[in-house]
Symmetry: C2
Subunit: 372 residues, 2 copies
């Protein structure tokens, strides 16, 4: 069985690494063959909305998936017309996740508390939104935002113009700036047969809009129950197949849904060594119609993103029990180049080792452990 | 850094799967591109002693290794002449492992108890050997034997002719048939800097000369001490770099060295899920000059080989906590097509789950758990 994947970045690479042992084959589509998944699977080269290449990918695959949530839905729909190819996760989920307004409406309809927000499509509407929602707040593009891009914080009335200058001209959303205590994410997976598996809650630290550190399992039973209800509602509403991630703010012991991603997620990378079945293997199992594997944690895991530059390989691999995942990408400021994982028998021991690793590798994350 | 590997079977495939996350690239040489590693790395097609292709492989790689212990040493030596390419494990180890007589002499020189044996090169010498060593015994080709091939058990004097008919004409070895209690293997790894890591002892069950089941860690402290001394002696004597496996018979609480393999080994496949660092990752780390990873066991592991045919994928993946490694090979009687691993918190729980899996998947191994 061949899995066709639109986008051949590090997520695609890790999906293939997890899928080969199951006896599956992979074929990718991306703008270049020099991409993270390109070292270990064939890549069709073309734009992600190149209908001829999308159709070629679909014809040569048994099931289609994507490793990027901004794959154009109309192109994917048109390219697969008449081919009766399964696309998983479903296009409905992809479409909802691509528009911040649709995403928030879906959260609200399903009873997931989310941020107060208003759609904005003019300078005047932005001023009204700031008055209605209050200041400070965040102006965001409705589409194509990720890793903090397409966002501007408005602290006071004087900041409205600058934000409009920076982002105006495309559909926008203005929302409250949540004064959160911390951030968590939920990761779930649903099979073709409707079976579900839920990973333990993960605590996340961002900086500059980019995830830096995740710890799991994050023991917060009340939050975990709330997160699981939200995940179930979303998985069922979307008739979802594959891995789904929901990012939350935590404020005064309550979850506030920020956004979801209809794919494997950076905050779930700890599952490769830290869970019985990784998010990558479970995504591949789900979309191929195979039974889901256990999401149980194997200990207390930490995931450290490697951003912009990689510490020396000798130093990283010299740390006992540290697992390196190098995505094979050229260094560039702000670019996710890889991640490190460690798994310890207790949370205390994990935290001690994380501190030692951050110190030895001179990773500048210590400050971020206190919040965003 | 590119790792060049002669032979692209399942061992090469699992080396590449372990090496990609370290940021390494792979290039293989094998007789066909339709080989287990071919799905996930480029393959130069040629005979394993094709000097032009070997030289091409060497030129395009930073370090050369092999996934089969019968790669012709003279071809490898000639093809790399003048290129100053590192070959790991060293050719000395490859050469010693290819000749059962050299292998046994090495064991004896280093103080590893081994089977009583005599070199045989004629019908008359075989008769003398049977008289000297006694009957029953095993006649083996000195070269190119694996998985029980190239062997004939001689039970009585009447069997001498048949064994000679079957194997005569090439250099042979006659050795005592060890009435062993059970079989174990030791797995060690040595880095370029001389650092060593030793995996816990593994207990093995063979049938028809082919490994069926391995359990690890096998708790037998006296045997483990003995095995570790033997491993150390061999690693140092050979100035070894990479993973080395030694197979032993256990008779009355003592180890008897049977053979060694200068490569990752089937009895070490449990380390993928069952150890902090798998044998594949540690082999790749060692030959690339990277620090070794911890060989510590993460629980109690069982590895079940899938031979000849694969049970239905739905049944295998429906077993909770069972990990599938499908090598992507076409079914054929006696062929190793994949393996299954499970890891449990206690040996008792592991054994209970192994029995359940053998029953559910109708794997015919129960009988072999009592010995060969």
């Amino acid at each position: 069985m061949t899995i066709g994947i639109v986008g051949a970045g590090q997520l695609g690479r890790m999906l293939a690494l997890a899928g080969y042992p199951l006896g599956l084959d992979f074929l990718f589509l991306d703008r270049s063959a020099d991409v993270p998944a390109g070292a270990l699977a064939p890549v069709l080269v073309g734009a992600l909305d190149d209908r001829a290449q999308l159709r070629r990918l679909a014809r040569r695959s048994d099931v289609l998936s994507f490793d990027w949530e901004n794959v154009p839905v109309p192109a994917l729909r048109a390219a697969t017309r008449g081919l009766r190819k399964r696309i998983a996760p479903p296009l409905r989920a992809l479409a909802a996740g691509q528009d911040r307004l649709a995403e928030k409406r879906l959260f609200m309809r399903l009873g997931l508390p989310t941020t107060r927000h208003v759609a904005v499509d003019s300078r005047a509407a932005l001023a009204r939104a700031c008055a209605h929602i209050g200041l400070p707040g965040v102006l965001k593009t409705r589409r194509l935002g990720y890793d903090g891009r397409g966002q501007a914080v408005i602290r006071d009335r004087a900041g409205i113009d600058a934000a409009w200058q920076a982002l105006g001209g495309v559909p926008l959303l203005y929302e409250e700036l949540v004064d959160f205590d911390y951030e968590v994410s939920a990761l779930g997976v649903r099979g073709r047969d409707g079976a579900e598996a839920h990973y333990p809650l993960t605590r996340n630290w961002h900086s500059g809009g980019i995830l830096r550190v995740s710890l799991a399992p994050w023991r917060a039973p009340a939050l975990e129950r709330q997160a699981r209800r939200g995940m179930r509602a979303l998985l069922r509403e979307l008739d979802y197949v594959g891995v789904l991630a929901i990012e939350y703010f935590v404020r005064r012991g309550r979850l506030i849904a920020n956004e979801f991603a209809p794919r494997v997620h950076n905050s779930g990378h700890w599952t490769i060594e830290g869970a019985t079945t990784s998010q990558f293997e479970n995504h591949v199992r789900a979309i191929s119609g195979l039974p889901l594997g256990s999401p149980a944690a194997l200990g207390h895991a930490a995931m450290l993103n490697l951003i912009g530059t990689l510490p020396p390989r000798l130093a990283m691999l010299g740390e006992p029990g540290l697992h390196l995942h190098d995505y094979g990408k050229a260094p560039r400021p702000g670019r996710k180049l890889g991640h490190l994982t460690l798994v310890a028998p207790t949370a205390r021991e994990r935290d001690r080792r994380v501190r030692a690793v951050l110190r030895h590798l001179r990773l500048p994350y210590a400050a971020h452990r206190r919040g965003r």
